[in-house]
């Protein structure tokens, strides 16, 4: 007896198969869709009968999935996401720095150095002074622009991170809700394939944003748990949201909403890339740029403070640093020690250095002002110092001028000489550190006359007590001895001349030679006659006084106001290696910065390229298994069409057989 059921089962299966093929073709381009295949099994229709005839049934619809490849894709996607995010931002930074031939800041630094070198050739030229002031201003603005663009970028990154978090949170919600739907489908025995495909796609999308790990093992009900950086984001049906915020130290912090910040190395995905950009790459660049700006300014200032402008010494001067509290609290690296103010008596031209004791732990601008007010020249107060609006203001007493030049005073620092001869100091000290020279008179006769007494000498010893030189200031064969008033070279550029008169054996005078009048760094920190002010790349600026009057540029180290000693010193700063810049000079430091950025970009470009091709390969591999091949589906379409046809034929045949039987009956 032909069983119609067999035909029916065939028809049903063929129909289901055609539907599957149809679904596959329809979803050929759906992202994340995996080809579904029908599992067909024979169906025992005979009960416990002996005769074996059976229909067919759908044993199940399975997703064609290459789990190993898919999990590898899931592992590599965050890496690619991170590298892409980093690369885009780094490239835009590089773009903003200008091309190699017109590196905005590098060109500006070089022009600034160049303007100083040129000013050194004509320190009296107002035009060249103007040029230098403009070049410095341009460089400062270039620093500002780059500093500001990095700061803006910082803000942009935080914004991006917040947007990315929102995007990720959407996906997290989607995964959690699909988890619920999958569970329902599974418990109701329905196919959850499409839902799973959707969920897999959401996980994959999420993997581009955060470094996810998917845990399918622990849940038997078809749900998946998603973990990122060790923190669960999806646990079954519950979703936990990410949020990005700026931390106290200006770092980017990721946390669960209402939870603690995520700990550890947050690598992977767009968010990982943003964290790395904000906290390492951009922060590093910003730090380097700030270091460069502040170091360059500090070095130029250190030299500038001690120089003299074309208009000579000051009668009054305003500091540029606005700050309260102790000097130590400025974080300007001020050390304890002496700063020196050089005061000139305008009438006599005599100069005197006054030591200003600086103790960053206890001194404030007010106590410094007090100490400055106490400085006296023969009982006359030489300076009036005041603090207004938290800046230091200095005013010279009538008949006096001041500056911070370390240039030698023409009179000895101390003297016990009682004879009629008086010494005069000249020259410029070229030593590297401060030195005190002691001159001791030697004369066998007790009192000698300069230029006359044979054997009259001065022994010169340095601070360490070492004999530096013996100066013969007595007479000799006619015309061969010492002529009063002739300068005698002592050491390191210092010369001493003895006036006509007598010197007494054993008496002494000392000459203090300063290498640096601001070893504590206080004067430059307080902005007394500095060139630049500002404490970061974005706040670096040339002092307004200098822009207003380029004669304020302290090109000279004295004694002449239009000398070029100091400007040469300043110009050399760009080529002096600095410890604070890792042993590089400022120009090289910036070049290194640009080169390092270039290297960062280059390695990321290479990684992105290899990552992309590797992911493409993996995707292809996955597609070979899970993708819809139209040709294959077409073939199946024909195959199941035939099956349907055949099953129909069988039913017709069976029907005819039944008819024939009926007719017989």
């Amino acid at each position: 007896m032909p069983n119609l059921d067999i035909g029916l089962s065939g028809l049903q299966v063929a129909q289901a198969a055609l539907e599957t093929v149809g679904t596959n073709i329809a979803n050929a381009s759906t992202p994340g869709y995996h080809k579904q295949s029908l599992q067909i099994a024979p169906l025992d229709l005979s009960g416990q009968g002996v005769t074996v005839y059976s229909g067919v049934t759908v044993a199940g619809v399975t997703r064609s999935i290459d789990s190993l490849t898919e999990s590898e894709i899931l592992r590599q996607t965050p890496l690619q996401g991170q590298v892409t995010t980093e690369l885009t931002t780094l490239q835009s930074i590089e773009q903003s720095m200008g091309s190699i031939d017109s590196q905005g800041l590098l060109t500006a630094i070089n022009s600034f150095v160049s303007s100083m070198n040129q000013l050194a050739s004509q320190p009296d030229s107002v035009a060249l002074r103007q040029q230098m002031a403009s070049a410095a201003d341009e460089m400062a603005q270039e620093f500002n622009t780059q500093g500001q663009s990095l700061t803006d970028l910082d803000g942009q990154i935080v914004q991006d991170a917040q947007n990315t978090c929102n995007q990720a949170n959407g996906l997290i919600d989607q995964i959690a809700s699909l988890n619920v739907q999958v569970e329902q489908a599974v418990t109701h025995g329905n196919s959850a394939n499409v839902l799973k495909d959707q969920r897999d796609q959401a996980v994959k999308d999420l993997a581009g944003l955060v470094n996810v790990q998917v845990d399918t093992q622990s849940s038997s009900d078809g749900m998946v748990n998603v973990v990122a950086w060790g923190t669960p984001l999806v646990l079954g049906s519950s979703a936990l949201h990410l949020q990005a915020s700026s931390g106290g130290d200006d770092s980017l912090i990721l946390s669960l909403q209402g939870g603690k910040p995520l700990q550890g190395d947050l690598q992977g995905g767009t968010l990982g890339g943003l964290v790395n950009l904000k906290n390492n790459l951009v922060a590093g660049l910003k730090g380097n740029l700030d270091t460069l700006a502040t170091q360059l300014a500090a070095q130029i200032n250190q030299a500038h403070v001690q120089g003299i402008g074309a208009d000579g010494s000051f009668t009054s001067l305003d500091g540029t640093k606005t700050a309260g509290g102790t000097l130590g609290s400025w974080n300007a690296g001020i050390t304890a020690g002496n700063a020196y103010v050089r005061v000139t008596n305008v009438a006599t031209g005599a100069t005197e250095h006054f030591a200003l004791r600086v103790n960053p732990a206890t001194d404030t601008l007010n106590t410094i002002a007090g100490k400055l007010n106490a400085l006296q020249d023969n009982g006359v107060q030489v300076l009036t110092a005041s603090v207004a609006d938290s800046t230091l203001h200095l005013q010279a007493a009538a008949g006096y001028q001041f500056d911070f030049s370390p240039a030698l005073d023409s009179q000895p620092t101390t003297s016990t000489l009682s004879g009629t001869s008086s010494p005069t100091v000249s020259g410029a000290y070229t030593g590297d550190s401060d030195q005190t020279y002691t001159f001791t008179v030697h004369d066998a006769g007790g009192t000698g006359t300069v230029g006359l007494s044979t054997g009259l000498t001065l022994d010169v010893t340095n601070a360490a007590g070492e004999l530096v030189k013996t100066l013969s200031v007595g007479g000799g064969t006619t015309g061969q001895g010492y002529a009063a008033g002739d300068p005698l070279e002592v050491d390191n550029g210092i010369s001493v001349a003895l006036g006509a008169g007598t010197l007494t054996d054993g008496q002494q005078f000392t000459v203090q030679a300063l290498a640096n009048s601001d070893p504590t760094g206080f004067l430059s920190a307080a902005g007394m006659n500095t060139f630049f002010h500002g404490d970061s790349a974005s706040t670096l600026a040339v002092n307004q006084d200098i822009l207003d009057d380029p004669n304020r540029i302290a090109a000279s180290q004295g004694p002449d106001a239009t000398g070029n000693g100091n400007i040469q010193q300043m110009a050399s700063v760009a080529s002096e290696p600095l410890d604070a810049l890792g042993g590089l000079n400022p120009v090289d430091y910036y070049q290194q910065m640009v080169t390092n950025l270039g290297e960062d970009i280059q390695t990321r470009q290479a990684r992105q390229a290899s990552m992309t091709s590797s992911l493409q390969q993996l995707q292809q591999q996955a597609d070979d298994v899970g993708g819809v091949d139209i040709n294959e589906e077409g073939t199946e379409l024909l195959q199941y069409e035939k099956m349907f046809e055949a099953a129909s034929k069988y039913i017709t045949t069976a029907d005819k057989a039944m008819q024939a039987l009926n007719d017989m009956l």
Binding site: Q118, P123, T449, T562, N564
Partner: protein, 453 residues
């Protein structure tokens, strides 16, 4: 991938540069940037070198003009010193010297592009200030900087641009002073700080007679010219009085102001009242001065009498032991002359402002010949030094331009794109790109669906 390559190649083709960003080739980019800084540095040096070279060229030609001026002065001087000149001719020569002096001062205050060449680091201050009395220059003082303006002209090379004129136009190799007069003064053993030419005025203050001689200072004793110890011989027998080895002078014993002259022409005025017979020692006291008597030093007849000019503080040590009579002693300190002071002195001697005798004048002029030669040599030395600097500038220019060429070449080799290669690569990449697109289109085109009906 291909489209990015094509974008890069297009940028290379457009800029002609292989490295447009550090990321194109970080290692080469660093070198390119360093080379650019180097080229910039060389540019600065070239600019400075050009300005120094310009200044030195003017400097050199100025010094040559000075040499010419000094040669004229030397000719004038040797003619005037020859002794054949009349005083009127000397006055004319003095005028000529004066105009040479004016010329020298104006040359010494030469400016180039508004900067004084010989003022050192005080480029905007005229280096030599003149003091004039009745239109004539009486002093030329250096008021420029003590320091040369040294300019960086090549990495690690400094060159004097604006110079200290005092060094260029004055010598500083002090020798013992020379005393050209007849007072008997000699240079002391101590070292004098006086410079150039100066006049030592040896004056008389009082003459003292031994009591035993009986005679005393006459009415006009103030105009006695003896200084130090002299021998006075009185013969009451012959009624004569003799000073040193001079001609005996007769007296009658009542003279209150008898002038007695020795063989050198020195004179004393004696009050002959109470003259006694015998040989006595008379002593003339006096003063010394180097500022025309404005300030005086007591003449002590010691070996080192310091005579100070309070205006300058400079000391002349005089060996006064052999001073016998008053006078004005020309003193010349060889090795300390400067051009201006020389010319002023020569002019003054020619004009004979100090009322010298013809022979003194001639002696002085002769002594100035050597001094003028000395300063001429100094200027000649300066000319040579500046000339040497100028020629070394030429060498520097060549070496700098070589360096610049090298740096530029190196930059080009690192940076420049090979245009032909870029074009070929660009064409290749484009073809590849098109093939990829075409094959993708083909692959997408063929499907079984085309064949199922």
């Amino acid at each position: 991938m291909q489209s990015r390559l094509i974008a890069n190649l297009q940028e290379e083709a457009a800029t002609g540069s292989r490295i447009n960003r550090a990321s194109d080739d970080p290692a080469a980019a660093f070198q390119v940037m360093s080379l650019q800084a180097q080229v910039q540095g060389i540019d600065d040096c070239n600019k400075n070198l050009a300005s120094v070279s310009d200044d030195l060229a003017v400097n050199s030609s100025t010094l040559q003009q000075m040499t010419t001026t000094l040669t004229s002065a030397q000719q004038l001087l040797s003619q005037a010193a020859s002794g054949t000149y009349q005083s009127s001719q000397r006055t004319v020569a003095a005028q000529q010297i004066n105009s040479l002096l004016e010329q020298m001062v104006s040359l010494a205050n030469t400016q180039n592009t508004g900067r004084y060449l010989y003022s050192g680091q005080k480029a905007s201050t005229p280096p030599f200030a003149v003091t004039r009395v009745a239109g004539d220059i009486t002093a030329v003082n250096y008021q420029g900087s003590q320091n040369d303006l040294s300019v960086p002209v090549a990495p690690g090379v400094q060159m004097s641009d604006l110079m200290n004129g005092a060094n260029l136009f004055g010598s500083s190799a002090r020798q013992a002073p020379q005393f050209l007069g007849t007072t008997g003064a000699k240079p002391g053993t101590a070292t004098s700080s006086a410079t150039g030419d100066l006049w030592l005025t040896v004056a008389h203050t009082a003459t003292t007679y031994p009591q035993a001689a009986g005679v005393s200072a006459g009415d006009s004793s103030a105009s006695d010219t003896i200084l130090g110890d002299h021998t006075l011989t009185i013969s009451t027998v012959n009624k004569t009085i003799t000073l040193d080895n001079g001609t005996p002078v007769s007296y009658d014993g009542s003279e209150s102001d008898l002038a007695v002259t020795n063989e050198s022409g020195d004179v004393i005025h004696v009050n002959m009242t109470g003259a006694t017979d015998g040989t006595f020692t008379v002593h003339g006291d006096g003063t010394l001065s180097t500022d025309d008597g404005q300030s005086t030093t007591q003449l002590t007849f010691a070996d080192n009498v310091p005579v100070t000019d309070p205006a300058t503080g400079k000391i002349l040590y005089v060996d006064a032991r052999n001073i016998t009579h008053t006078g004005v002693e020309p003193v010349s300190v060889a090795g300390t002359h400067d051009v201006f002071e020389m010319l002023i002195n020569i002019r003054d001697v020619l004009e004979n402002k100090s009322n010298l005798t013809a022979s003194q004048q001639s002696d002085l002029l002769n002594s100035q010949v050597a001094a003028l030669q000395e300063v001429s040599n100094v200027v000649a030395r300066s000319t040579t030094a500046v000339g040497a600097q100028l020629s070394s500038i030429e060498n520097l220019k060549t070496s700098l331009s070589d360096q610049q060429d090298n740096a530029n070449k190196e930059t080009a080799s690192l940076e420049d794109a090979d245009t032909a290669q870029v074009a070929t690569e660009l064409a290749q990449e484009q073809t590849l790109y098109q093939m990829t697109l075409a094959s993708a289109a083909k692959v997408l085109n063929i499907s079984i669906m085309d064949y199922i009906t």
